[in-house]
Amino acid sequence: MSDTTPDAVPAAAPAVRQIEAPAERTRRLRVGGLMVVFALLGLGLAIFTKSGKATFQLVSGDFENNLLGLPAQAVGLILGILGVGAAVAYVLRRVPQRYSGWLAAALGICFIGAFLCWAAAGKTFPLANQFQGTLNFATPLILGALAGVMCERAGVINIAIEGQFLVGAFTAAIVSSTTGSAAAALIAAAVSGVAMAALLAVFSIKYLVNQVVLGVVLVVFATGITGFLFDQFMQPKADQLNTPAVLSAIKIPGLGDIPFIGPILFRQTILVYLMYLAVVVVTFVLFQTRWGLRIRAVGEHPKAADTVGIKVKRIRYSAVLAAGILAGLGGAFFTVGYAGSFSKEMTAGNGFIALAALIMGRWHPIGATVAALFFGFATQLQSQLQIINTPIPGQLLLMAPYLATIIAVAGLVGRVRAPKADGEPYVTE
């Protein structure tokens, strides 16, 4: 560096911020406004909460012990006030910028707490089961979303998660029924997921098919082919071909005995453990390994990767195929992982929800996982609320998870940025 240039600090180094960027301000007011609305809503619910105790069940199905009884209205009011505090602090910028995310999270917890106090006043709310169900709903979504993360980080759009699910579910069911082996079923599901992924990979990477078109088509194709095979082969011999054994829960010694969370998290099937593993592994692989570095490079700037000697297409193939394993396993959840036999279109749009989770989670494995859990939580909550008979109409409750997702995306997540080269085939001359 020549001595005439004072230093090597970036020219656009963060200057002391006196003025808030207009975009930042808009965002703060938008998010803050939403937070205030929810805070007031929470407070309002607390005011109209029936007096009496809200009982929370801490162990699924245990009505005698492990109950947490709270004075519903008092707790609701406290949470409501805390929530209003958090919202106001956010709007008025009373905490440093980087902690403001925590305020939103705090408000979320306060609101849900106040809501539960309101809904459960005088009743018993199965809290443990709330988390258990969240996990059940979220497991395939997480696997699917992680598959999407792998593909899209490498620059291949994957709208076909739903199709991969269907094929995985079908294969797992048929293999489990014929071999009786859970391992064989899971392996077969993974292999079938890879087969679908191979179609995605070949058509997008080799034949340069528009990846949005391709994804949609693969879903239709998977729907058609599993439907056709179901109609022609599986259904007529359902007693031989469609009686998969469902994986049984395995308790992890030690961990499974932790109060409250042990039974929720560590008495699960192998598939759920594989899901945990997948979250850790995908995150680790993407951000800490050579392969992951290369995957992210080819998804952001394939030409840059090419110029340092990386085989762009080879990395893309490997990422898409590896993702196929995850999506196939996600599909297996629908049959051998949880619900048993296969039926047509049984994945019922879950693959598209996984896609939404992937986008909502900003193409990050942890973000996608959180988004999937959020969705699972909302779905489970609506189901539980239907049982304890809240004044909210059932159909409105059924819509709630979807509306909640829209509110979260519009209010909190906002604009997201996909990997730069996502969807663009790499062509060399």
Partner: protein
Amino acid sequence: MHLELSGLTKSFGSLVANDHIDLVIEPGEIHCLLGENGAGKSTLMNMLYGLLQPDEGEILIDGEKVKITSPSDAIRHRIGMVHQHFMLVPVFTVAENIMLGRENTHPGGVLDRKKAHALVSELSDRYGLQVDPEALVEDLPVGVQQRVEIIKALTNDASVLILDEPTAVLTPAEIDELIGVMRQLKESGTSIVFITHKLKEVKAIADKITVIRRGQVVGNAEPSASEEELAELMVGRAVDLVVDKRPAEPKDAVLRVEGLTVIDERGFTAVDDVDLEVRAGEILAVAGVQGNGQTELAEALLGLTPVAAGTITLDGEDLTTRNTRHRLDAGIGYVPEDRGHDGFVGSFSVAENLVLNLFRQAPFGDGLSLRTDEIEKNATARVREFDIRTQGIDLPVSSLSGGNQQKVVLARELSRPLKLLVASQPTRGVDVGSIEFLHTRIVEERDNGTAVLIVSTELDEIAALADRVAVMYRGKVVGVVPADTPRDELGLMMAGASKSEAHDEAIEHPTTLGTI
């Protein structure tokens, strides 16, 4: 290493980008490639680096024929390259960018970040190229990004290093720094192929100069040749390097900017309390190294970036909160810096792009529907007037050469009545012949009484056009100086020195280029 390119030929469709090119690079020599835009320099180097496959011809290393079918082959043959466009992953850190493709790993493919950091530190110490290994590349100013690119190329221990226009984004001081690195490499026996449009640099460093025109080698020159000689050899005719213009006759201030502050998306202050005035009939050039707020300044003038504080008035009308469309209609013409990104819609036809911000108004639109015939008539006229080389007005603009794309944008903006023209890097990527024409048009616009604001990183262009120069550094205007301020002084101001500091320093420590 002795490198020989023999009869290399490459066509894109019907365009022959490289036509039987022969070139010899001796060990330890700095070999400059000169040529106008689109001459085929990058194409040639991309073939050498394995990014493009030649249609014909061969590459010989130390007399032996080699096939280079991918960059990894080139790397294996110890060829390194700094590309014309950044080959950095913006969302990666410096260290990640540098280790990419040659990662040191722990068992199991886990990245060894420590080693990468050590490598970055080692190289940046050895060549005096300071970078923070942990910084995200997208947060770095382009000059520093270029430094990262150079370090990246150096990590490979290349015997032949190709530098494709690395200096376009550097300050004079940074260019000096780079020249130092190149000399150091040459000492150690590395050969360098150096591509640049700046004749001063060529003269400062070259051992040998090869000139390419329209895909063919048209000759060699000695570093001692004059700039005019080199330019003539490049373009194929005598080139007037100085724009012929009368002194400005400025009138009332048209644009008045007061206390303008722009905060970018990441919360950095990109434009910091800037006051400016541009008068009718004058050209104000905003000089500065890329990334010092000029882009944001121009965008704020157009309403493309929200303003955090300050006011913008045009002919007395406060425009600060008006939208882009209103400002365009109020008489601001705009040539954006990144034309492929902001200037035109590549998949739209030439005719459509020529009315991209005019299509609503008569005669092109009647409120609801488009007048296709008028749009075509306009296109035909503009294409003739601005000598836009295209096979037809209904071809997509993306099929035009860069210079002609730029002409489409300028033709659109200059063909309507303007009060203020804001042009960022108006001639970037345009060949010398067209530069002449475009400069003349801009000066004509000035002479018609339009206020003109040029943003440019090229001191040559500033010298050619400006009536006054405002130098920006870290979002602030560090000074407004007359057009005839010496290059070294401007260069120092671009690095943050105040007017007086720069003046003294320039006399004390002249740069290599400033003295030529």
